[in-house]
Structure formats: C-alpha cells, structure tokens
C-alpha cells in the first residue's frame, strides 16, 4: 500500500490574506495549530509526494476547454496568480513529480478520463494548503483539479470514482503518497454574502463524510447544494474524492463556523487508510 495519508482542509484565501483582520485570534490560532498538526501527520507518514485535489478558480481552466478532472505532470509550478499582498503568500516556484505523475495518470485513465497538464499556475486553492502543509515547498506536489466552478460540474459519483482511481493508482507505485482534498463546505465566497455559513448543513455533510456514508454523500443534487450551501458548496467534490481514496473512517480534527471573516467553515480532518 503506498497511499500513506488522506485528509481534507479548507483553502479560502482569507485564511492567509485576512489573518490580520480576525477578531477571534485565539480561535484562528487553534485552527492554524490543527493545520500544523496535519502537516506533521503528513511528514510522519513518510510521504514522498503530495497530491492536492483542489477546486481550481480559473487560474488554468476556462469554459473554452473545461476538464472534469485534470492531473498535473509538470516539473515545476508557479503561484500564486493572485496579488501576493492580497493573499499574503509570496510568489514562488513549486516542484512537481512528473515521472510519478505520468505513472499515476496512466493508471487513473484505466477507469476515469482525466486530462493532464504539464503547465499549471496555482491559485489560492492550492497555495493556501501548501502554505500550511509544506511551508518550505520541499515536498513534490501533484496538483489535481475537479471541476467545481464551471457548470456543468463534475457529478458527485464521478468524484467518488476519481478518488477510488487515485487510490488504485497510488497503490500501484512504490512511492509513498499523501493526498488531500481541499475546498469549502457551505459558503458564499466572492459575493456580498461572504462570511455566510450554514453550520447545520456543514455538520450533516461532515458526519456523512466521517462515516464514509457513500450513498448519503452522493445523494446531494447540485440544486440542493446551491440552495443550502451556496455555490461554494460545490467544492464538496474534493472532500468526497479524498474520502473515496482513503476508504476508512474519518477523524474530524477541527471545524468551526466562527471565523466567518475567512468566508468558510474552517475544517481539518483525516481518514484511516483502509
């Protein structure tokens, strides 16, 4: 078995960019401490590469050619595309894992028609997780996008199948691989409603996720998600894929709706690899 870690975390740009605006500093720092714990868990797993399954925000893909899935096989990546002062993350170059990426893509393609890309610019959806999980950018990264932005979106059951394909691919190579899914649960980002969170919806979703209740997880329609969890809720695809890759029950290490200045219910969790 070479998948050695699977987890999820939030990635909203406010987590770094608006850190100084937060009133509840103690809760912010508790969240940061949980992210540091996640970094240490990935480090302890011996992971040689980190797959970041993200909800890309138009840094690479547009409606002229929108893939349902894409896997990065580049040697290096650059980011963030956003103003560094706005995101509070400086522009940098991140190492990829091209040889490993190609082998993973070959195996994933046996069951899922993924696109692949040798070029990829990182936006906050990947840069914020990297800021916490590999702050020195010394772990090779394989970026993955699941289309959560440009409708028609990737169906949830395909996100699950993709997670299973990631797992099968990771187990087919000798390298130790960690994977994280990163996105929001309910949130209304990039609207005047930024900061709106449906805590009850979040907790129900997280309960389904931690229990690995596949049927319940895949039962959300996009219409229901949009109504109850906002357009940001479409990013549950990344969490669902991480659960499918892991196979084991989840451990919800942190969730709070009480940092709305970050525009998302802040979440950290890991799954047992089974």
């Amino acid at each position: 078995m070479s998948l050695v870690y699977s987890g999820v975390l939030s990635h909203a740009p406010g987590i770094t960019g608006r850190a100084d605006l937060v009133k509840n500093v103690a809760l912010r720092d508790e969240f940061y401490a949980r992210l540091e714990q996640q970094r240490q868990e990935i480090l302890a797993s011996g992971a040689e590469a980190l797959i970041v399954m993200a909800a890309e925000h138009f840094a690479n893909f547009f409606m002229n050619n929108m893939p349902a899935f894409c896997v990065g096989i580049g040697e290096t990546y650059s980011g963030p595309i956003e103003d560094p002062e706005w995101l509070k993350i400086q522009k940098t170059t991140v190492s990829g894992a091209p040889d490993l990426g190609v082998r993973l893509v070959r195996e994933i393609m046996q069951t899922v028609d993924t696109a692949y890309a040798e070029e990829w610019k990182f936006d906050h959806g990947i840069m914020v997780p990297l800021h916490f999980l590999t702050p020195h950018y010394d772990l090779p990264i394989i970026p993955v996008n699941i289309n959560c932005q440009g409708p028609p979106l990737t169906p949830l059951h395909r996100a699950w199948a993709f997670g299973e394909a990631i797992r099968r691919a990771a187990d087919s190579v000798p390298e130790k691989i960690a994977v994280v899914g990163t996105g929001g649960i309910s949130h209304w980002p990039a609207t005047p409603d930024s900061g709106k969170i449906n805590e009850a919806w979040d907790r129900e979703f997280l309960d389904r996720l931690m229990r690995q209740d596949k049927e319940a997880l895949l039962s959300y329609s996009d219409e229901e998600t949009y109504r109850d969890a906002g357009q940001g809720g479409f990013e549950i695809r990344t969490y669902i894929a991480a659960a499918a890759a892991a196979g084991g029950k989840g451990d919800l290490q942190f969730y709070t709706p009480d940092l709305p200045i970050f525009a998302v219910g802040c979440t950290v969790a890991s799954f047992a690899i089974e």
Partner: protein
C-alpha cells in the same frame, strides 16, 4: 455570449503578467482582442466592480480582478452591494446575492460603524 468573452478577458488578465502589463499600458488595445459590448467595455475602463458583478462575472474571477486593482476587502464587498443597488440584481451565473446586502462578519460591521 458576450459575458463569456468578458469573463475570458478577466481570466487571462488575472493569470498572465504580460496581459497585466498591457492592461496598464493599453487597455483599449487589449480589449479589442475580445468581443465585448459597450457596457462591458465601460465597466472595464472604469474598474466598475459593481457592474461587473451584476453582469454575472464569475465571483472567483471578479475577486481576483478586484485584488489586482488593489481594492481593499471590505470595499470590494461594498462595491458589489452598491452595484446591485445601482444596476439591479445579478443577471447571470451562480454568484448571486442571497443575504439582502447584510454583512456576515463582525469585523466588517465594526469597520462600518
């Protein structure tokens, strides 16, 4: 169809240093590469976040554009609200306003006091 090119303009601007340079030096020339209405061209010339929001530009694309323009976070939220007041509800897309214009953070409410 025009909204597609308006968003594509901003998508390419947001991700490309060369496009950002052209934006600063020759915005009109840069816009000629895209099929845009007069209203859309005006919104870009004026950096009118409120109108771009109402026109239905995807929120993530618009947020990155606002950051590129150096607009402070709470001002950016307020400019979207003012856009709705001035131009009416969001005309397309999924980034509509559902909260009636309220703020959802204590930090913003305190700043507006």
């Amino acid at each position: 169809m025009s909204l597609y090119y308006l968003q594509k303009f901003l998508y390419e601007l947001n991700r490309d240093d060369g496009a950002q340079e052209r934006y600063r030096e020759d915005l009109d020339g840069l816009m000629k590469d895209f099929v845009l209405t007069d209203e859309e061209r005006g919104a870009l010339q004026n950096g009118d976040i409120g109108l771009l929001y109402v026109l239905g530009v995807n929120g993530q694309i618009l947020m990155h554009y606002a950051a590129f323009l150096g607009i402070e976070w709470f001002d950016y939220l307020e400019q979207m609200r003012q856009g709705i007041e001035k131009y009416g509800p969001v005309r397309a897309g999924v980034y509509t306003m559902t909260g009636g214009g309220d703020s959802f953070t204590v930090e913003e409410k305190e700043k507006r006091k």
